[in-house]
Symmetry: C2
Subunit: 73 residues, 2 copies
């Protein structure tokens, strides 16, 4: 079985941090200036998220971007 992909690890981390704050996907998306469907697809590990959106998502969670990488290699 393949190990969890980078995209999946990031999505799992994003979801955990979002839920920790009690935000819905829609609330997080609005705070980040992104679309709710996009946030959902990131959390499902479907997106190879790039720098600018990583920083937007971190800002919406009031964390540093590096904190989204704690579970990544």
């Amino acid at each position: 079985m393949p190990k969890a992909s980078i995209k999946s690890l990031f999505g799992i981390a994003l979801r955990a941090l979002r839920e920790e704050r009690g935000y819905s996907q829609e609330e997080l998306a609005e705070r980040a200036g992104l679309h709710r469907n996009y946030v959902g697809s990131v959390e499902r590990g479907e997106r190879n998220v790039a720098l600018e959106n990583i920083v937007k998502l971190a800002g919406a969670l009031s964390i540093r971007s590096k904190d989204l990488f704690d579970s990544l290699p």
Copy 2:
């Protein structure tokens, strides 16, 4: 004057870490499995680098991906 972009901050960080290790852009690119021209454009702040390449670049530098984000918000 606009502040440094996210892409530029990442590029500056990548270059500093690469030079710290004494790698040329070509050596880093080869270690990461990426093209030398791509690494150059990342360092110049021209690329909105995504998760999978962030992890490849970090691996090529023998660091964690989060260490590339120390200077980013």
